[in-house]
Symmetry: D2
Subunit: 145 residues, 4 copies
């Protein structure tokens, strides 16, 4: 089992700012996705890999709580953690942390299911055993350490 | 007190789709903002008006639950409702409904506070009485009727 | 031949602003697409219709010249015009005009070809005669009048 | 004079795809900005530095030619080059190159001027000599080598 993961880093871009002079809040949802897809890549089951297997992982729900502001050019770490997994549903939590200071910027969560190409929900436990075992292994582990 | 509000309508754009062939989930957060700023415009206290008064309304938290998919070119109504307001905090809920069928696509909520130009939290009750009365009037009312 | 077209209107959104306090320049490219897809919809050959026929219309080149700034909440008209069409290549120009003042904000152009599902270039003249005739009819006509 | 520059790299994100299954063309304009601001950062005159000096660098014009497609998760280099500079106007060209294969994906150009906080055009030669000399030094040099 892999124990070393690269922390996912994002540098806030000018086009992500708004006229309040901060990063627009909608971008954090996109950064969650960046960190989520990067985590799945590191686990060997990236979105492109999944889509080749005919599996899509839609988002069922999002929460995001903004603790402190991110400004243009700031570098942040986005740290995902698999919170729940049963082969049918997947919950991932996120912490966004300022790289320079370690200050917490944002927390959030995304909930997912697994669909085949006909949009039918599938159980990884039955249909993708290897993937099931993998997600199961990493459930609840802090991947930032 | 105003009782007729225009329903806010958005047509899903091609640039809002992703390679799953649906509208990317991050866009709904932006549509919530479209409907929220439109509501404030209709109430006479739009974001530009607020910013001229030196008040900004940052987002403290977002939730979004995806019920069914929106596709390219679909027209949806985004219906905001002031759920809570005490002059210091503001909670708005949203329903996104397909225009053609009335089917519920998404529900969500945004939480806000009011800041002055130095990022100090302000109480509308004390500092912007007219605006306070207005938000207070519309609290809990279904503006889609 | 249809002679009445609705002018395509867009209201600049808060999430489209940047920290210069203006609409970020990348959004105009998206507004061109909004007006282009709206024009094709009005002509009866929208992108969704085209994709059902197995035809995609990728962008080969974009130009955009920024004349004056668009601010949050401004309403603009985006006026497309078919500049060139030979069944293989399509060039559309755009003018973005402030709704309130008529002042020109932006001009631009997009170049396109037509591909089938295997990414092979196709000639509408040979393979989609009805669509060919239609584009041919509207070539060079100012659709804003 | 600095001669070593880091190549600017971007990994194409899922939220940047569209339903054609490729990266939406508007994102390349944003990647140009990423590479441009990164170049100015490396030169010691980043956008945040400029804005502290009261200088903004708006975009006057953009061109972008799409040579071949970028797909989700592809890594690309975006290579900017200062093509013209006279203290009043600045032209930067861009090449987007696939990291894995070296294949050219996109070329483009952005034109800029320099404004003070009152939106008055300024000449760096007169008002920001150090910055003027710097841009002047790097004019026409291929920074990818």
């Amino acid at each position: 089992m892999q124990t070393n993961f690269d922390l996912y880093e994002h540098q806030a871009q000018y086009y992500e700012t708004d006229q309040m002079g901060i990063i627009h809040h909608s971008n954090y949802i996109r950064w969650f996705e960046e960190a989520r897809t990067n985590l799945l890549d590191q686990l060997g089951f990236g979105y492109d890999q999944m889509e080749k297997l005919g599996i899509i992982i839609p988002v069922l729900a999002i929460t995001c709580t903004y603790k402190s502001m991110v400004y243009y050019n700031d570098r942040v770490f986005i740290i995902p953690k698999i919170e729940e997994f049963n082969g049918i549903r997947l919950t991932i939590s996120y912490r966004i942390i300022d790289k320079a200071t370690g200050v917490l910027r944002t927390t959030g969560e995304s909930k997912h299911c697994f669909l085949d190409k006909t949009n039918r929900p599938i159980s990884l436990k039955k249909e993708q055993t290897k993937m099931y075992d993998l997600f199961n292994d990493y459930w609840g582990i802090d991947l930032s350490k």
